[in-house]
Symmetry: C2
DNA sequence: GTCTATAGGGGGATAGAC
DNA sequence: GTCTATCCCCCTATAGAC
């Protein structure tokens, strides 16, 4: 016999781990309840249906991460006053809170893997949660970056943020590929080093010179 | 009555479209054969099992794309002779062949979506095909970039290629997010413009200055 | 709140007629 | 090569005992 809260939590933890490893579609409620050592019917009792469970698994962690992102951004802006924070500072405010979850022994690596994958998830429920949760954050960070990169047209900025999100997602979810293809030369577990690399790459991308209006020079030749 | 080849092709086309839209796990053979207007048993007759079908759907397009990537890279290197091609040229050689598929009315957008998603796919079969097909390409492009960026340590280069792959994947698979979050301000269908933006971002990221060895300055403060 | 048992529907794969 | 029919498994969700 266990408390209701404990059961709920065990289900969420097991679901998080399994969703991360096998994907939401390939994970059955039976696998989840078996891993959580909880009765099959408990999922429906506590969450109603699989979709609702998916939503809660994501929201439980994305919510706090996004709150911290916004708090860091506010702290940056408070510190710099009238001047906008630098691009690098803004990127850090966005990236650090989610990367930090990897060091969290409770959340562990499972959630960051799931999170990175979520951007690409065909499952409608997952996409809805992600978009819903990111909307406010995207709005605030766009505004901050627009001040930091005043020469950049707004459309261009959205594109570059989109590219940046891709870098982050791949960093969270694609470590297997990096380790395999590089033949084990890259250590994906050294978080501070990963963070510095990520920030350097994304910052440079955001600051890239604008491509000329229409260059049809010899470049296309090769 | 149809020829065997035609049936095979109809199955591949339908599977490609459905895998792209709903994911491989969420797509059933029944959905595929219904969409292809083909008998259910035809899948097993022509491919043996679902896993084999997945493999062929991917390999059919990835193979040619990777051949063209290598051909373009060779062309670049032949043209520049002893000098290495520029980073931008190398990036173009990698990115253009796959983006071009989006303009192909036959392959259409379905495959590029599937391809972008494949990097993050939990399904083992998908990952195996992707890694297998990318190994040679990754090796050749790493070698080319190492010549173009001789100051960059090899580990760093692998990381940056990994980040670049994330940008590409998100560009291929994440358009829904960009259009939603930007409120329709970004036109994802203008391929030449997308290409220029992508190349500019990735090239800048690859060329980014190396982060200092250990900076613990006021940056972390915000 | 927690369990067992089961309804009710798909799923992948195959045997065997044509 | 193509079809129908079917096997047998696992899925989600729920009803009802405890």
């Amino acid at each position: 016999m266990r408390s209701a809260e404990a059961t709920r939590r065990r289900i969420l933890d097991a679901a998080e781990r399994l969703f991360a490893r096998h994907g939401v579609e390939a994970t059955s409620l039976r696998q989840i309840t078996a891993a959580a050592r909880v009765n099959l019917a408990a999922v429906n009792y506590h969450f109603g249906a699989k979709d609702a469970l998916i939503r809660e698994v994501l929201a439980r962690r994305v919510g706090p991460v996004n709150q911290e992102r916004l708090a860091r951004l506010r702290a940056c802006e408070a510190r710099t006053g009238d001047q906008p924070p630098s691009v690098e500072e803004i990127v850090r405010a966005f990236v650090e809170p989610v990367l930090a979850l990897r060091a969290d022994p409770d959340a562990g690596q499972a959630f960051t893997l799931l999170m990175g994958r979520s951007f690409f998830e065909p499952n409608l429920q997952v996409r809805r949660v992600i978009i819903g949760q990111m909307r406010e954050v995207a709005r605030r960070f766009t505004a901050a970056l627009r001040r930091a990169l005043p020469h950049l047209p707004e459309t261009e900025l959205w594109w570059r943020m989109h590219f940046s999100a891709g870098v982050l997602a791949h960093t969270l979810a694609g470590n297997v590929h990096l380790e395999t293809l590089s033949g084990g030369r890259c250590d994906t577990s050294d978080l501070p080093a990963v963070l510095e690399r990520l920030v350097a790459f994304v910052t440079a991308g955001l600051k890239a010179p604008l491509p000329g209006p229409k260059q049809r020079s010899g470049k296309r030749k090769c």
